[in-house]
C-alpha cells in the first residue's frame, strides 16, 4: 500500500490476499485448472472441427447423376453415347453438364498421356469430341479448328463416325515419332510386338476422376491415317500432341466388337449449381435411346453420416472421458487444496465468526477464493488451449480427419465445466469453514 494511503478492506481484497499468501499452492491449484481447461479446449476443438467438417459436407450442394441402365442384352454403343452426348450437349448447353461412360470423361475432351516405346520420345494423345451438331470441335486449350496447319486439315464431325481412325500430328510428335510422315500416310499408334506394352501413367496424372484400367484395356498397336500436320511452334505439349477423334480412339483403346465400343452403363452428371430440370432431361434422354433411369445425387448421405458418425462418437467419447477425468481430478485437487487452506486458517475463520461474520459469509469467502483461482486458471487454460489448438492445426492438420476449430461453444463449455468443477470443489471446504465455531478462536494460537 505504501504511500497510496489506507484503503477499506473489502471481501475481494481479503480473498485476493488469501490467494497471495500461499503463492505456490495457489499457483499449483490454478495451474491444475489451466491444464484441465487446455486439454478440454484441444479435445473439444477437434470435435468441433469434425462437426464443422461434417456440417459443411452435409450442406454442400452436389451434382445430380442420372444413371442410364441398358434394357437390352446389348450394352450402349459408342453411337448411343454420341447420341446421348448430343442430347446432353443440346439440352444442357453451357450448364457444365457432362456424360460419362464407364467413368470415361468426355467432357468434352479426353486427354490421355501416353508413353511411347521409342526411347526419350513422348507424345500426348488428345481425344477430341467433335460436336455433331456443329462444324466446330471441342478442343484442348490452345487448339482450335483454326489452328495453323502446315498441311492437311483439322478434325471434323465426320471423323467421329468414320470407319478408320484419323489423326492430326503435332510438329514435335511428328519429328520424334513419325519422322517424314505426311498427310494421308498411315502411322502406327501404340505398342508394336517387339516393344514393351504401352505404359500409362498412374491414374492421378489423368484429368479423369476414375480412370479405367488402361493397361489392360489397351489393345494395339492400331493405325491411323494422318489428315493434318500442325504448324511448328505451337508451344508446350501442343507440339507433342497427336490428335484423334475421341470415339474412334475409345473404340481403338477399349473393348471392341465389330469396331463399336460398348458401355454397359452411362451416367449423366448435371453439374453443381445448374438449375437443370433433370426430369425434362430424362425425358429427352429416354426419347433418344431405350433406357432405365435411376437418379441419385451420387452421394450416400446415410453412409456418410454413418462413417463420420462413428468417428464423431469416438471423438466425443474421448472428449467426455477426458473431461470427466479432468473434472474429477480438478475437483479432488482444488478441494484438497482448499481443505488444507481452511484447516490452516481455522483460527482466522473462527475469529471472523467471533467478530460477527455469518456462516454463509464465511462460506462465500471460501467459494470466492476458489472461484478466483478457477477464473485465473480458466483464462490461462483458454490461452494455452487456444495456442495448442492453433499449433495442432498448423503442424498436424493434414494428418487429422478435420482441422481443429476453436468454436465459441468450446470456450463457453470450458468456462462452464471449469467454474462448475471448482464450485463443486469449493463446496465442501466452504461448508467446513462455515461450520467453524467462533469459540475455536479462543483455543488457537
Amino acid at each position: 500500500m505504501g504511500s497510496t494511503g489506507p484503503e477499506p478492506l473489502t471481501a475481494w481484497r481479503y480473498v485476493s490476499r488469501g490467494i497471495a499468501r500461499r503463492p505456490l499452492r495457489s499457483t499449483l491449484a490454478a495451474a491444475g485448472v489451466a491444464v484441465a481447461v487446455a486439454f478440454f479446449v484441444v479435445f473439444a476443438s477437434m470435435s468441433a472441427g469434425l462437426h464443422r467438417e461434417v456440417e459443411d459436407e452435409l450442406g454442400r450442394p452436389r451434382p445430380t447423376h442420372v444413371t442410364l441402365e441398358h434394357q437390352s442384352p446389348t450394352p450402349y454403343s459408342s453411337s448411343d453415347l454420341a447420341l446421348l452426348g448430343a442430347v446432353v450437349a443440346t439440352y444442357l448447353e453451357g450448364t457444365g453438364a457432362g456424360i460419362y461412360g464407364e467413368g470415361w470423361a468426355l467432357d468434352p475432351v479426353v486427354e490421355l498421356t501416353l508413353s511411347v516405346p521409342r526411347e526419350g520420345a513422348r507424345c500426348v494423345l488428345w481425344g477430341i469430341l467433335p460436336k455433331p451438331a456443329g462444324e466446330t470441335i471441342a478442343s484442348p486449350p490452345g487448339i482450335s479448328p483454326t489452328a495453323p496447319l502446315s498441311a492437311g486439315r483439322w478434325l471434323t464431325a465426320d471423323d467421329e463416325n468414320a470407319t478408320g481412325l484419323v489423326c492430326v500430328l503435332g510438329a514435335s510428335a511428328r519429328e520424334s515419332l513419325f519422322p517424314g510422315a505426311e498427310v494421308n500416310v498411315t502411322v502406327s499408334l501404340g505398342p508394336d510386338a517387339s516393344a514393351d506394352p504401352w505404359r500409362f501413367p498412374s491414374a492421378g496424372e489423368y484429368p479423369l476422376d476414375a480412370a479405367p484400367d488402361w493397361t489392360s484395356a489397351v489393345r494395339g498397336p492400331f493405325t491411323a491415317t494422318v489428315v493434318g500436320l500442325l504448324a511448328p511452334g505451337m508451344g508446350g505439349g501442343l507440339d507433342d500432341g497427336v490428335y484423334v477423334p475421341v470415339h474412334p480412339l475409345l473404340r481403338a483403346l477399349g473393348q471392341q466388337d465389330g469396331g463399336v465400343y460398348y458401355y454397359p452403363r452411362l451416367v449423366v452428371t448435371v453439374a453443381d449449381g445448374t438449375k437443370t430440370d433433370v426430369g425434362a432431361l430424362e425425358d429427352e434422354l429416354g426419347r433418344a435411346v431405350p433406357l432405365t433411369l435411376a437418379r441419385d445425387d451420387g452421394w450416400d448421405r446415410d453412409s456418410f453420416e454413418r462413417a463420420y458418425g462413428q468417428t464423431q462418437r469416438a471423438l466425443d467419447s474421448w472428449l467426455w472421458a477426458v473431461t470427466s477425468v479432468m473434472a474429477l481430478m480438478l475437483v479432488a485437487g482444488v478441494s484438497d487444496t482448499m481443505l488444507v487452506t481452511v484447516a490452516e486458517r481455522r483460527s482466522e475463520l473462527a475469529t471472523l465468526r467471533a467478530t460477527g461474520a455469518r456462516r454463509r459469509q464465511v462460506s462465500r469467502l471460501v467459494l470466492a477464493e476458489v472461484a478466483l483461482l478457477g477464473a485465473i486458471g480458466l483464462v490461462a487454460g483458454l490461452c494455452v488451449g487456444a495456442l495448442a489448438t492453433w499449433a495442432l492445426g498448423a503442424l498436424a492438420g493434414g494428418a487429422l480427419i478435420a482441422p481443429p476449430h476453436l468454436a465459441w461453444w468450446v470456450v463457453a463449455a470450458a468456462a462452464l465445466v471449469a467454474m462448475g468443477a471448482v464450485t463443486v470443489a469449493g463446496y465442501y471446504p466452504a461448508r467446513r469453514a462455515a461450520l467453524e465455531r467462533p469459540t475455536e478462536a479462543l483455543r488457537y494460537e
Binding site: 500500500m1 478492506l9 471481501a11
Partner: protein, 249 residues
C-alpha cells in the same frame, strides 16, 4: 441503561434489563446469568463446564474472571460473548436474552455489540494494521475507514497503519487487537488473557487501555490469571470446577 446500550435491542421479559447480585435483574446490570449450566458431551461422558451459575456485571464495569485452568472461564466468556448458548438457564446481555437466538442472530449480536480481544491477538497476517482493524466490517457496504484510523490513533498506532502484524511488537499487536474490538463501537468488550503473552510493562499499558474503555460506558470482561487485573477490576468473578465460588467488588 447507559447511552451505549446494546443494539439489536432488549427484548423485555420478566428479567428486565439486568439483575441483582443474587441473579435478580436490575436496570444497571449489563450482563445477567441466571442458573446457567453448560454441558459438553465427550463421547459417552458428560462434562459440566458450568454448573448453575448466576451472576451479574454492572454496566461500564471492568470485570475480571478468575479461576484455575478448566474452571469454566472460557466457557463463561463464550456464553457472554454470544458465541455459544447455555444448556440450561438464561444469559442476558444488555437486556437481550441470548439463550434463544439462532446462529445468525448470535452473529449479528456479536457484530454489533461485542468486541473480542484474544490472548494470541488473532490478527490476519496478510492484512495490514488498518485492514485488521476493519476485519469485522468487511461485509459492510461502507467500511468505516476514518473510524479505523481514529482507533489506531487512540491505541497509538496511527503511524503504523500499513504495517503487517509480523512487524509489530507483542504490545502493539494487542493494542491493534483492541482497536479491532472497538471498530463496531460495541457496548461489551471481552478479553481472554489479554496480558498473558505480554511482559509486565506492556501488559499494564494494555490494561490501561481496557480500563479506559469503561470510561466510555463500555462493559469490559477480562478472563485472567493476572492478579493486577483483579486489583483493578470493579467486579471479580471466581470460578472453580464450573461453579461460581465468589463474586465481589
Amino acid at each position: 441503561m447507559s447511552e451505549r446500550a446494546v443494539r439489536g435491542g432488549g427484548d423485555g421479559g420478566e428479567d428486565g434489563a439486568g439483575a441483582h447480585g443474587d441473579g435478580r435483574p436490575t436496570a444497571e446490570n449489563a450482563i445477567v446469568l441466571k442458573q446457567v449450566t453448560k454441558t459438553y458431551r465427550s463421547g459417552e461422558r458428560e462434562v459440566h463446564a458450568l454448573r448453575n451459575v448466576s451472576l451479574t456485571v454492572p454496566e461500564a464495569a471492568l470485570a475480571a474472571v478468575q479461576g484455575p485452568s478448566g474452571s469454566g472461564k472460557t466457557t463463561l466468556l463464550n456464553l457472554i460473548g454470544a458465541m455459544d448458548t447455555p444448556t440450561e438457564g438464561k444469559v442476558r446481555v444488555g437486556g437481550r436474552d441470548l439463550s434463544a437466538l439462532d446462529d445468525d442472530a448470535l452473529s449479528e449480536f456479536r457484530r454489533r455489540n461485542v468486541g473480542f480481544v484474544f490472548q494470541f491477538f488473532n490478527l490476519v497476517p496478510v492484512l495490514n494494521a488498518v485492514e485488521n482493524v476493519l476485519l469485522p466490517t468487511m461485509f459492510a457496504p461502507d467500511p468505516p475507514l476514518e473510524r479505523a484510523m481514529g482507533l489506531l490513533e487512540r491505541v497509538g498506532l496511527r503511524d503504523m497503519w500499513d504495517r503487517m502484524p509480523a512487524r509489530l511488537s507483542g504490545g502493539e499487536r494487542q493494542r491493534l487487537a483492541v482497536a479491532r474490538a472497538l471498530i463496531n463501537d460495541p457496548a461489551l468488550v471481552l478479553a481472554d488473557e489479554p496480558t498473558g503473552n505480554l511482559d509486565h510493562e506492556t501488559g499494564a499499558s494494555v490494561l490501561d487501555l481496557l480500563e479506559g474503555l469503561t470510561r466510555d460506558g463500555r462493559t469490559v470482561v477480562v478472563v485472567t490469571h493476572d492478579p493486577e487485573v483483579a486489583k483493578r477490576a470493579g467486579t471479580v468473578l471466581r470460578l472453580r470446577d464450573g461453579v461460581l465460588v465468589g463474586q465481589g467488588q
